[in-house]
Every structure is written in C-alpha cells, then in structure tokens.
Symmetry: C2
Subunit: 182 residues, 2 copies
C-alpha cells in the first residue's frame, strides 16, 4: 500500500511516468523515508488505473521510446488524502546494523570497525546529499522534512563517532566460534 500512496503523492504534484516516479524515489527528497522499485511501481500504476485513481496518455516522440504519462484523477486525489489521514503513522525502522552491534562479540572488532567506517561514510554522504537538496528546495514542507531527516541522521552519526570505541572494545573480547558450542 505504500508504493501506491507514494505514486499518488508524486502525481498529486505533477504528471509523471513510472520511470520518473522511480527516479524521484531514488533521488528526490523522499528517498530518506521511502523506497520503490520498478517491480512495485508499474504494477501499482496499472492497478490504480483500473480503479480509476489515475489515467494515462501516451507520448510518442520520433525515435524516443514512447512514454506513458500518468495523471491523477479527482477520485485519486480523494483516495490520496484519505490514505494520508487514515493509514498508520508509525515509523518502520529495521536495523541489521544494530543487530550486528548487539552481537559484535561474535564477529570481532576488526570486522566491526570496518562496518562502522562504512556506515559513517554512508551517513555522511546521505546527510550531505540532503543538505544539498535543502538548498535547492523551494517547497517549505519539503524543507521541513529534509531538516527532520538531517537532524536525526546527524544525531545518529554523532553518536556513532563519539561512542564507536566503546563498542569496539566490547567486540575485542571476541567469542571464538569453537567455544560457542559450549
């Protein structure tokens, strides 16, 4: 249901093709808290067309592959607002990294350090990307959401940088796998 909602969200601002919707999911200011791939977007759009939430027109420029440009209908807008207000609003957060942190003794500190390095780099990249988007943003709501993301990711990064050594020390007392069997 989330891909659906996301497609309607995009289309509520402007017409778009499936390809463009996916690009927005990957690079837009949504990318922090939404994910959608072709395999979920195209079927979603097809289904919503059947239900009358969206329509499409074909655009054929000479040579270029033809595009299906989707538009949201009034019914679609109503469905979007309804979903916005009726869907559960709790965040979904899953972190394989925190599970690794919790069991870091099993993998040892070298491996852990490496993963932390990667995570730090990843977070820094993400934050700087969002800051860049913030500069370009003209929509105040988008700016607000971006800042929300930036401040939580920054807190996460900060904690990680400040406290990594503590965890690395814990991981130093590695549990050998042979001992593990008792």
């Amino acid at each position: 249901m989330s891909t659906r909602k996301f497609c309607l969200a995009i289309l509520s601002s402007a017409d778009a093709t499936g390809y463009e919707i996916r690009k927005t999911a990957q690079m837009g200011h949504f990318s922090h808290f939404i994910e959608a791939s072709y395999g979920s977007i195209y079927p979603s759009l097809a289904k919503m067309e059947q239900e009358g939430l969206v329509t499409w027109r074909e655009e054929t420029s000479s040579g270029k592959p033809s595009r299906k440009i989707y538009s949201i209908t009034q019914v679609g807008r109503e469905a979007f607002v309804k979903e916005l207000s009726e869907t559960a609003l709790d965040d979904l957060f899953r972190s394989p990294f925190l599970l690794l942190a919790l069991y870091c003794r099993w993998v040892g500190s070298e491996f852990l350090s490496n993963e932390i390095d990667r995570r730090v780099a990843h977070l820094e990249l993400k934050i700087s990307g969002m800051k860049h988007q913030l500069e370009l943003s003209s929509d105040p709501a988008a700016s607000w959401t971006l800042e929300y993301g930036i401040s939580t990711l920054s807190a996460s990064l900060e904690y990680l940088k400040t406290n990594r050594s503590k965890l690395e020390q814990i991981a130093d007392e590695r549990v050998p796998q042979t001992q593990a069997a008792e």
Copy 2:
C-alpha cells in the same frame, strides 16, 4: 530472512519457545529496530529445524500447555555469524508520518496538530521505556544499542517539538479538495 536472523540471535543467547521469542521482539531491547509476529516466527523456526539450525524438545508440565523449547545448534551458530556479517547493513526506514508532513496542506493544521501530539506522546513513551531498559541492562552491547536508539529518537523528538509550529503554519494554508481538481 530477518525473522530468521532474529530468532537465531535470541537462541544464541538462550533457549526459548516461539512465544518467548515473540515477547522479546515486542518488549526486549530489540523492539526498537526489529519486528516479528507469530505468523513469521513459527514458520521460521519450523524451517530452520528442517535445515538443522535449531532443535527442540518438548516440555510438558501437568496442566500447562506443552512448550516447544528451541535450542540453536552449532550449524545454527555458524549460520548466524555468517548472516550477521554477510547481510546488507543498511537501515530500513519508512515514515508515513513524513509523507503526511510533506503533504500537510492537504489535511489541514487541525488534523496535523493532532497527529503531531500523538507522535510526540508516542516518542516520549518509547524513549522512557528504553531508558528504563537501559537501567536494567547488564549487557554492555545492549546498553550501547539502547543508547544509540535513545539518542536518535531524542533528536527526532527535539526537532518535532521545536519546529512543529513551522509545519502547522504551512498546513494552515490548506488546499481545499474541490480546488484540488483544478
């Protein structure tokens, strides 16, 4: 694969029943970044038993319903460590709330305010629950992870409290649904 990994994680520390594993998922120090329901735990355990990652014994006390107590095998331990180190470590974060924030003009500021109130209360409850767990925690790695969670959730809460009025102002300029159709 994540329910699987989570079950192995629990069992790597102590034997447990499916029921207990689910309780841990709901209330333990995992609850912040993991979710698992009966519908995913029981099938997972059954499958892992077939693959030799876990075994179980039955415990029948007079009267009480019989319990299937699962134990991890050496093969299971190895599989766990392997999954810990080989699985993707990126967080999964989905936020229907941030989508609502982004389109708050469509729902208006009254509705938004209400949702923010609920979210603030929810975050405060979650944070205080985690602080309580932190006090009880004797495992340094669990404490580290809990503090990680507390600091990011606190940043999130802080941002929300400080900047909610900004968003509420944006939502004040509500887009009427009739106008929406253009």
